[in-house]
Amino acid sequence: MTAIDPTAHLSDQQIEQLGRELDALRDEVISSRGERDAAYIRKVISVQRKLEMTSRGVLLFSLFPPAWLIGTAGLSVAKILENMEIGHNVLHGQWDWMRDPKIHSTSWEWDHVSPAAQWKHSHNELHHTYTNVIGKDNDLGYGIMRVDEDQKWQPFHLGQPLWNFVNACFFEYGIAAYDLELGRNLHKRRRNSPEFRARVREVGKKIRKQVLKDYVIHPLLSGPSFLTTLAATFTANLVRNLWSHSVIMCGHFPEGVQTFERRSIVGETRGQWYLRQMLGSANISGGKLLHIMTGNLSHQIEHHLFPDLPSNRYGEIAPKVQELFERYGLEYVTGSLPKQLFSAWRKVFRLSLPNRGVKTPDLAKERIAA
């Protein structure tokens, strides 16, 4: 939330010009997609699968502490890669252009309790369309948190640091719950709709398969290492959940990131849509490994501008995007992982309490609406 409108200096024409420049950048990437990109994703998939199999193999002997450590670490990394750099991005359709039915958004299923089809709807259609629009974007506080000074404070919000932490630990279940839009659909009238019940059954089936694999089959295969393997897969899932929750929180929550009101996006132009993505996202700075482990969501700004470009290209276009921010006098919110995480958590804590001081009007929101 800002007292000063960060877009006040831009005329409507400038905003549309910004949109055209971003469109041109997008076309540039699309026309140069090719073998190098295809080789990249195939390599990541191959490394991930080999790492997962090896780690699970090592965990068959998890009774021995070194095996437990190596196996758990490897499986955690494999699960993170699978969800972030592979699953999230394949399901965005970033690799659909390859026309490989095995790496395609319509056929991919991921290592996650939310079935791919439901996640695609709530993530691609809702979150990416309504980025940071309060009340429309589930990723923004997941419907359980106060995320902006403008939202009315309620005593329930006092617990939000705790709710946020619990959500982080069981993040994949949290995602499944809001992909089902549980909050909305548990009302009596909707609860019995056949469509909702079919979706609940789908999720139930997926959870059963996932739980069976991680907490029954693999521990059983480990024989005497049953309990330690169980602990290992639980830990790997926990690590993956905490990591992905942290990355996502850093994408839209740190100080400096704007939120928007429902009415502000009515009749939005292409330029204004881009502008909202630019102001509503934040990056994480770091090395190549960090970018891969975050599924390149460390380039959240670039990802939100162009959700379906291949993830390996975000880092490459980042300097050009940053240059655009500078030229148009906008703030490119970025920082190291600890810094952004701290900033996001501080906001969670701050907003758990009622506002202090005088409320300032938020001009950014008014203006994007105009």
């Binding site: 997609r33 090719g34 073998e35 252009w97 390859m98 991921w110 398969k209």
Partner: protein, 351 residues
């Protein structure tokens, strides 16, 4: 318990181990050509034939069931990272000792797959395959007298047949722009020297195009021969007419590499229901191209209406068969070949 039931159980258990992936997703990393895998092949070598044609030697996966001389194989090749499917005639005999097959490709101007295979593909690359298909083949009861009437890259299926069986009396009448453009020229001359066939080479740049009406000047007994013809549409149309005029259409077998587009009409909005995408299409662009351009995953193969690799349920509306002009309307169970069907008004197909 039977061994089949046992194997199904074991597989089910393995799937529980690998969910949400399949066991094959992991096995493919190790051995993409193994038995039970989706059919693939590995390019072993690429030999130039002319300045713009090359023979590609492929080691097919264990699932390969073999071919009949004259058949084609559909291959899926990644060109600039994009999987493209095309059909190529098998040019190797069925009894090749090392189990490899060959296809021979002529690079078309601006042709994506043909140029890639002739000029850029590398040995070691894994490609996608389908089982051989097609009825442009040598019959099991070999005919006594044969004529191969070919032009350009149309020589490929005929070469497959020539290499397969040594027949008593074979004439090959082949057209190409110049001597240097004749694919398999050395092989053909060796065969001719061995009296395995009589070769008539027409160099159309200097000799002019073949005039079918004067076929008997080259092959006096053409009407007695079982004939296989493959080449450009003009030559094949003329041949079909000529054979029909003499009342012996059943002795002529033709193979086309491209569809004969006869009729086009008004287009319409095409909805791809599984992908949930709608685009405007004209009445002459095949729905296969429309879908591919819209980023929809469209299966395909020959792209000319013979392999049925592209069949897709038509859910609503109407499409036109570009070869006949027939309008097909949606009904439960109606399947269309997207490569030879264009929108005839608004329509919905399940892709």
């Amino acid at each position: 318990m039977t061994s089949v039931a046992l194997r199904t159980r074991a597989l089910r258990l393995l799937e529980m181990v690998t969910t949400p992936l399949l066991p094959s997703d992991y096995l493919d990393l190790v051995d993409p050509l193994r038995a039970g895998a989706a059919l693939r092949g590995r390019i072993e070598a690429i030999h130039p034939e002319t300045s713009d044609a090359a023979t590609v030697v492929i080691k097919p996966g264990r699932g390969w069931k073999g071919h009949v001389a004259g058949q084609y194989v559909r291959v899926g090749v990644d060109v600039d990272g994009v999987r493209l499917w095309r059909a190529y005639s098998v040019t190797s005999p069925t009894n090749r000792a090392d189990g490899r097959i060959t296809i021979t490709v002529k690079a078309m101007p601006d042709g994506k797959v043909s140029n890639h295979l002739v000029r850029r593909a590398k040995p070691g690359t894994v490609i996608q395959l389908h089982q051989a298909d097609g009825d442009f083949v040598l019959p099991a009861i070999r005919p006594a007298k044969v004529l191969y009437l070919t032009a350009g890259s149309g020589i490929t299926p005929a070469m497959g047949m020539v290499r397969e069986a040594e027949l008593a009396d074979v004439v090959m009448l082949h057209s190409a722009p110049t001597e240097a453009d004749v694919i398999f020229r050395n092989d053909l001359h060796d065969l001719a020297a061995d009296k395995a066939l009589r070769l008539i080479e027409l160099h159309t740049d200097t000799d002019g195009m073949l005039d079918i009406a004067r076929l008997d000047e080259h092959v006096p007994d053409w009407a007695e021969r079982e004939t296989w013809a493959c080449g450009p549409a003009g030559m094949l149309d003329a041949a079909e007419e000529h054979w029909a005029r003499h009342g012996i259409a059943d002795r002529l077998h033709t193979e086309r590499f491209r569809p004969n587009v006869l009729v086009t009409g008004e287009g319409g909005a095409v909805t791809f229901t599984a992908t949930d995408r709608t685009v405007e299409a004209d009445g002459s662009t095949p729905l296969l191209d429309v879908g591919e351009q819209a980023g929809v995953l469209m299966p395909s193969g020959c792209r000319m209406g013979i392999c049925f690799g592209c069949v897709t349920p038509l859910r609503a509306g109407a499409v036109r068969d570009l070869r006949t002009g027939e309008v097909i309307t949606a009904e439960p169970g109606v399947l269309i070949q997207t490569c030879v069907s264009a929108a005839a008004g608004a329509c919905e197909i399940e892709r």
